[in-house]
């Protein structure tokens, strides 16, 4: 799942000898401390539970499970990260997800609408809901906390009105596949899921080419790059991770459909936030709103679009969740907003805005997701799970605060 090139360029003086390479590495790591820290924490958690569950955690079926169980939270977390970078918050995403799930159910179950059309309409509803909230926040100037708190009530109520307190089911097979489906088997039969292996190989190739081209371009501009041995090490690590992950999936039923959807969002939003003008404007607004405005950033428009994006993602998460349950229910999406916000903060967001990456939100979401799954496997009750997740959130942000104070930013 390695996607956009990582931020190796965020550091250092021109290279001059071996000792700087280590210093460069230290500085790169320190600059992205929270993300690297969380990556390490994620790895530790995985190893810990792998031992604790006697190897059950990383069994192919369970890996598929983790992906599918957490997909909707991860989708929400990516959008939430952008909202938080912009200096806002969205409390309504859980309710909105439920509302859109309910709407999708009404469209498909009561009106027999074709599922692709229903899905498109659902996303449109999400966009409109996001636009509604964005309007009040960006153009009227009501704090996002208030607007989305209102939205939380509004959409929850709307869900109950739509469903009249009942669950609506079942959905067409195609819609269910959004959450439960896998890519089709194809090609010569082997012990592995062939298409998945193929995808893994393609991803590896693309990543390697991308890394190499990036390195060449940086050298062409006489920018500093990682020394070759470290670069090779990094590539080997990426390749190993991608192959291990795809082979694990391939030895069960292959790539879940929802994983592809998530990767597309991650790559797309990651690219926009890093490379598009509007992404830069989001960071600038969150970092210093006054300075951004005086630099000609159209703050209202950017804020509005951030909430439209969140609305669409909330709608998608709602559809994925409904597809997973195979029903639209009034109780869907409860506490999703809290999980998404927690994932964003664990993944490197800052309360004051201006920092964080979409990839960070995914890492944060996975930390929570693997904790959930692992704790369930070893039989820890949901009561203690909540306590532990709360402490993890506190520890992650506390570590960041402490680290920043030490560096003296």
């Amino acid at each position: 799942m390695k996607t956009a090139p990582t931020k190796t360029e965020g550091s250092g003086e021109p290279r001059s000898g071996g000792s700087t390479a280590g210093a460069l590495l230290v500085r790169t790591v320190r600059a992205n401390m929270r993300q690297y820290g969380m990556l390490v924490a994620l790895a530790l958690i995985v190893v810990l539970f792998q031992i604790w569950t006697d190897g059950n955690l990383l069994k192919p079926v369970n890996v598929s499970n983790i992906v599918q169980q957490n997909s909707y939270i991860l989708i929400l977390a990516m959008g939430m990260m952008i909202v938080i970078i912009a200096g806002h918050i969205d409390l309504s995403v859980g309710s909105l997800a439920a509302f859109v799930g309910a709407a999708a159910a009404v469209m498909m179950v009561e009106y027999d609408m074709a599922w692709p059309l229903a899905l498109a309409c659902s996303l449109l509803i999400g966009a409109l809901a996001g636009a509604w909230q964005g309007f009040w926040i960006a153009y009227v100037g009501i704090p996002s906390f208030i607007v989305t708190l209102a939205g939380m009530l509004l959409f929850r109520g709307g869900t109950q009105i739509l469903l009249e307190g009942q669950s609506l089911a079942p959905f067409p097979r195609g819609f269910q596949n959004l959450s439960q489906g896998f890519l089709p088997e194809g090609g010569p039969l082997s012990d592995y899921h062939d298409l998945t292996v193929l995808i893994g190989v393609v991803v590896v190739a693309v990543v390697l080419v991308q890394q190499w081209r990036d390195r060449r371009r940086q050298q062409a501009y006489e920018l500093e790059v990682l020394p070759l041995n470290l670069f090779v090490l990094k590539c080997v690590a990426i390749v190993a991770a991608v192959l291990a992950f795809t082979l694990t999936l391939a030895s069960y039923r292959g790539v879940p459909v929802v994983l592809l959807v998530m990767c597309a969002i991650l790559i797309g939003l990651g690219f926009v936030m890093r490379n598009a003008v509007i992404g830069r404007h989001v960071y600038a607004l969150g970092g210093n709103k006054a300075a951004a405005r005086l630099s000609g950033v159209k703050d209202a428009r950017v804020t509005f679009l951030v909430f439209v994006n969140m609305g669409v993602l909330a709608a998608l998460a709602g559809c994925v969740y409904a597809a997973r349950l195979n029903a639209g229910t009034p109780q869907a999406g409860i506490n999703f907003e809290l999980e998404a916000i927690a994932a964003a903060f664990i993944g490197g967001a800052s309360m004051s805005g201006g920092v964080g990456t979409v990839l960070g939100a995914v890492i944060g979401g996975l930390v929570l997701g693997v904790l959930n799954n692992g704790m369930s496997l070893v039989g820890i009750g949901t009561d203690y799970q909540q306590v532990i997740k709360g402490l993890v959130l506190l520890a992650a942000v506390g570590f960041d605060v402490w680290n920043k104070r030490k560096v003296g930013t």
Binding site: E9, G10, S11, G12, E13, R217, Y221, L223, E224, N275, A276, V277, I278, R280, H281, Y283, A284, G287, N288, A290, A291, A292, R293, L294, S295, G296, V297, K298, G354, V355, T409
Partner: protein, 521 residues
């Protein structure tokens, strides 16, 4: 007469800047002692040292208060000794009552429970002493600024003040309220309360002060006795004080100007006419009043004025109406009227504004040098909405080299650079936006001499390329050294236009301290 306060050879340095060097200040008991100096002369820093905002240990020198050495760790410690400072921006809580504000942090309470009757009675008594006739239960938000100032003084009296420090107390007051306040100071003096008055208004200083100490460049220049005995007429003229404030040697150096002789040289590039702005909250008050000015291509034009003259407000209002409420006026660029109602429109028209407050309005401190430089011109660096990162880097590297921005890489966080280098980043951002007119607001505030020279070089180069530069500055030598013409502002109005040949610090200061009747506000 014995002295109530003695500050001896106070030296205070901030990273890169020596704000005070060996300042002496002696306040005799029961006198009103004015402290005068240009912006940045060190008046506020000195008062912060005295009141414990800059704690003991962070400065050199000693402070004797009523004969005893003092080592204040914070502002509460100095207040316990009876030294109370009233800042220009009042520190009142608007939605609490007058009585609550007077005893804020100093409540009449028994075991943590406030005794309201005593509070109100005591507040009423203090309010009588300062001549404030209001119900003690009135919310502070509901009374005018003049009365709020009185609340501050009542609050000081509640702390048994021995030495009252007032920082520009009349800056926001109209003439009537100012007169009342000054009378109150005289009244308090007769009760034995000494007072340090920081003021730009020399008329005011002559009226009430017994002694004047003049600061310049962080040093004590002189202490003048204004009147031989309390109540006697003043013996020191305003011009005498002005000479002390500005009479420094021109030890700043300025690069040689290359005049612009290209296309359209001498044509008017920027023309502001009749620009009027009202205060964002108090709509009655005109912060900028009917200002008209011009800047030619290749010309550097200065705007001089003291704090509160409305210079920044004028600039920010012209630049996308970023301050206050627009109340009339037009902007022409190269003879054509342009839309400057929003920042993007102003930028598109060819304006750029480099802020005086780079940390609040100029930079995203948590982002990199490179991204800060590109922020105002991202669309130009992008294709189909996607930023060309390599070009962005090259641009950043170019400004790093041409402006001599000292940073390990262009990916360093701007917040980690020194003030001078941060300023170069802000300037680079706007130079890259390639405007026709640059408004520079205090471009060298808080940076060291070397960096100043580099900034001057950049500004000269811009003018030599045919840009029109409007430069706001509180440092008169800087304006004299850099500008072809200088406008002066006071209380929101233009009070003069002086050519380079006729300009001197004395002339400018006279225009800047001109106390024109302001009319109703």
């Amino acid at each position: 007469m014995s002295s109530v306060l003695e500050m001896r050879s106070i030296t205070k340095t901030f990273p890169g800047v020596r704000a005070l060097s060996g300042v002496n200040l002696t306040v005799r008991s029961g006198e009103i002692h004015a402290v005068c100096g240009e912006n940045g002369a060190g008046k506020s820093t000195l008062m912060k040292v005295l009141s414990g905002v800059h704690p003991h240990g962070g400065y050199e020198g000693e402070i004797l208060f009523e004969g005893e050495p003092c080592a204040f760790r914070d502002i509460r410690a100095s207040e316990r000794r009876g030294i109370v400072i009233i800042h220009q921006e009042l520190a009142l809580v608007p939605y609490l009552s007058i009585a609550e504000n007077i005893f804020l942090g100093n409540e009449h309470a028994r075991r943590g429970v406030i005794r309201w009757n005593e509070t109100v009675r005591h507040a009423a008594e203090l309010m009588r002493r300062v001549g404030l006739h209001e119900n003690p239960q009135t919310r502070v938000a509901d009374i005018g600024v003049g009365k709020q100032q009185l609340v501050e003084i009542a609050k000081a009296l509640a702390k048994r003040v021995r030495l009252l420090i007032l920082d520009e107390p009349t800056a926001a007051l109209n003439d009537e309220d100012s007169a009342k306040l000054l009378d109150l100071l005289l009244e308090l003096r007769s009760q034995g309360i000494a007072c340090i008055l920081i003021s730009h208004k020399l008329g005011e200083v002559r009226r009430v002060a017994d002694t004047v100490t003049v600061l310049r460049d962080g040093r004590t220049i002189e202490t003048l006795s204004v009147r031989p005995s309390p109540g006697a007429p003043a013996e020191v003229s305003e011009d005498r004080i002005i000479r002390g404030m500005v009479g420094r040697d021109l030890d700043h150096r300025f690069p040689e100007r290359t005049p612009y002789r290209g296309e359209g040289a001498g044509a008017v590039a920027l023309e502001i006419s009749g620009w009027t702005v009202r205060h964002p909250i108090d709509h009655q008050r005109k912060v900028v009043d009917d200002v008209s000015l011009t800047v030619r291509r290749g010309e550097i034009v200065g705007v001089a004025g003291l704090m509160g003259a409305g210079r920044t407000e004028l600039a920010m209002s012209v630049f996308g109406r970023s301050y206050g409420v627009y109340a009339g006026g037009t902007v022409r660029l190269n003879g054509r009227e342009v839309d400057t109602r929003t920042v993007p429109a102003a930028v598109a028209a060819g304006l750029a504004y480099v802020t005086e407050d780079r940390k609040t309005y100029g930079l995203n401190l948590i982002d990199t040098v490179s991204r800060n430089i590109s922020l105002a011109s991202l669309p130009g660096l992008a294709r189909a909405g996607i930023v060309d990162e390599h070009r962005e880097r090259r641009v950043a590297e170019r400004y790093r080299a041409s402006m001599n921005i000292k940073t390990p890489t262009v990916f360093e966080q701007v917040g980690r650079l020194s003030g001078g280098n941060q300023q170069k980043v802000v300037l680079g951002k706007w130079v890259h936006a390639d405007p026709e007119v640059l408004i520079l607001d205090e471009p060298t505030r808080g940076i060291d001499v070397g960096a100043k020279y580099e900034i001057y070089t950049v500004v000269d180069r811009l003018a030599a390329q045919g840009k029109a530069v409007l430069m706001i500055s509180s440092e008169l030598p800087e304006l004299l050294g850099m500008c072809d013409r200088i406008y002066t502002m006071a209380a929101g109005r233009l009070t003069g236009e002086v050519s380079r040949e006729d300009a001197s610090q004395e002339v400018l200061m006279r225009h800047m301290t001109m106390d024109r009747s302001r009319g109703p506000r």
